[in-house]
Point group: C2
Chain length 479, copies 2
Amino acid sequence: MPPRLRGAVCSRQQSTRRTASPDTISALKDLLGVRMSTSRSVLDQHGTDESYHDVTPPDAVAFVESTEEVAEVIKICAATRTPVIPFGAGTSIEGHISAVAGGVSVDLSGMNGILKLDQENMSIKVEAGVTREQLNADLRATGLMFPVDPGANATIGGMVATNASGTTTVKYGNMKTNVLSLTAVMADGRIIKTGSKTRKSSAGYDLTRLLIGAEGTLAVVTEVELRLSGVPEAEKAMICSFDKMKDAIDTCTTVMQMGIPVARMEMMDENVVDAVNRYSNLDNPLRPLLIIEHHGSVGELEQQSRVVQEIARDFGAMDIEVASTAEDRKRLWSGRHSVWHAVLSQVPGSRGFSADVAVPFSKLTGAVVETQQDLKNSGLFGTIVGHVGDGNFHVLIPFTDDNKEHLGRMKAFSHRLVKRALACGGTCTGEHGIGIGKMDYLPMEHGEAVDFMYTIKKALDPLDIMNPGKIFYANTHSN
Amino acid sequence: MPPRLRGAVCSRQQSTRRTASPDTISALKDLLGVRMSTSRSVLDQHGTDESYHDVTPPDAVAFVESTEEVAEVIKICAATRTPVIPFGAGTSIEGHISAVAGGVSVDLSGMNGILKLDQENMSIKVEAGVTREQLNADLRATGLMFPVDPGANATIGGMVATNASGTTTVKYGNMKTNVLSLTAVMADGRIIKTGSKTRKSSAGYDLTRLLIGAEGTLAVVTEVELRLSGVPEAEKAMICSFDKMKDAIDTCTTVMQMGIPVARMEMMDENVVDAVNRYSNLDNPLRPLLIIEHHGSVGELEQQSRVVQEIARDFGAMDIEVASTAEDRKRLWSGRHSVWHAVLSQVPGSRGFSADVAVPFSKLTGAVVETQQDLKNSGLFGTIVGHVGDGNFHVLIPFTDDNKEHLGRMKAFSHRLVKRALACGGTCTGEHGIGIGKMDYLPMEHGEAVDFMYTIKKALDPLDIMNPGKIFYANTHSN
């Protein structure tokens, strides 16, 4: 028998705390001068993301300005086994930037340079700290766009870390589809370049797609070459409502199965509609809504939109409204874009919890309907929005830290939701990542495969300094 | 300083030969009975693929019938550090199935069961030995298809191993796009399942895309769940010719940059046209040809085809012929489909060498034109065909083993071609893989990143039994 690889699945031990030593802090100070901070407010800000997780600030924050500086920071940290936690915009929602084992937060927001636009090749190279909105503003005059849109104004580096996606993924794909190559600093401080500018390659292991979604646990990504898409000639959106959620989702699955091209396909339940109505003083009927958008030539959109309307009517769609002008589309989408704030505004002083599961299409209707019922049974106020074209949906629940009983019910609900998704062949996270919030579920979803993920982690980061305590529980046996 | 990972880049040592011992053979015999063979002809067949590489037969062939049997074979081989070489249809062209270090060929062609079609979810689970043609024949009545088409009737497992793609990749993507999940047997005999049936997930490292393109060096893939596409409502193809290659390719890049949806976009140079004319008794004009195909609704195709024709005319296209019926399309494509045999038939008794590079769009015209000139300067008969929508092109050269001088010129040409592709940011292989033929080029393309690929290899296959001697040179320092 070959030696069995020893795995992470059974152990639940957290990473031990490895506080940055005075020597480490001093070496970083020598390297970065005033761009190294240990001020309380800076530390607290870098331990906080948009999640429901507790604040765990780092011991120091390094505001880096180049790939080479990141490499130096990692070498300094590696010398004392000090954890390195990459930080972009702080918009992650599973505690990815939390310094659970102490260490140094590497803030890449200053690395926000657009390095090279290649219009002919429809690609652009940017530093990891460039935000999505900055990038698209920069592209405005080119007729090109970067289509991945997770909602938040995340950095491109952060979007790489969590394999971000969003409303447009049904047409344009997620980060794995839209990243051509990466520059990354590995755990030993060496700088590598993965992938290439070509649209395809079969040359060696796909380190690009290994690092995308690795949540900073294997490398710090410093530069990203992105595939761009042409701004569509025309866009057309349709909104409609249904008596029952089932009819809304059956409309979606039919559209997908018929292969009708859609650029976005979003579902909102009646609770979302209610919240948006109150927040924005609207009077949409309190029924599940569907918004479907097409991108293409005017002629294509006409035809696609007509077929989709027919399908929707077959499932009993009401109040169908179609928007072709930019202004009308903006109005039509405004409700969807304000969901997060609208829902939180329903509970004063609340923060938001966002569940994030994806299931196979064939299971989507059942999973959403059961989840609605579960919310009701749990006596929880929660709202469901879905990137239904991808089988992915979120449940947004506002909560306050002082109401422990409510928190408990919320966590129990979330647990049942993930179990429900896994039971029908789904995933515990469609786009938010594992972070510290879903570590229990990774082995439930992937079984022994997690051992091999962890084997890769140990091989590439033998000192366990790269964002430790995320994705996997530390394994005392294997250190 | 952290410990430097020791790498594979510098060493060029081949794997040492590790012949399967009599005990290993005997254990395999006990497991498989008559499905274990050491007959000369069976061994020779399993050391031969469609490449220009020498035949290196294995010591034994195990005709496996289940994932569990593969696991047992690997455990038996691991006990004596005997190499395990997965074998599908033998259609690879970089010596992937060659037993360069001895060992046991694991023939998966008997694992050709269609395990589960899920029409609602548009996915299908198959055993790795199912061939592409078998799969699509099986799907014929469903209105669904598996779109990846590398030309050869490869097995799905083989297509996973090399990250296969082909003429339709410009629209439907390659294997990385179209595989949902894998069942794989790892180097210690453990069976894992990667990925899930969902269209997206951010749960942990992407083992699916790590194993796709790993050429059997990390695991033996035994089952594959594939994403299917709807058979398009209609298809429309156009063929046209140009005075100059540059105009043909400029047409392609313009179509791509304008974002006009194409399902195939193939280029053939005048030498291909000449070979096809002779082979099939045709009289196509001896000029570079372009074939562009669209898939979609009748209305969409009409419009797309019109725009593409306009663009082609702007670049001086001649003899534009459009085919809408299945029969006309078949005739129009017949030349492209017969290229391999047509080219080989030009040199009696020859085998074929196929170069396979991809470059960024913006460099495609230059790379192809220079390559044509290089062929001419080298006095070589070679033909260029390209999946130009992906920036990928092949040079097919017929050769005979006895003409050493010609072989030398061919290899020198191939070397210059790869260097040319790498110099403009391209890849040494767009779809064939590294195998034993491109091992020198992997470090040229990926630099130190190869060290980290090799680190993963050593971590997941510490005994170096999984298809050793492919992708990387064995590194004496690190064993």
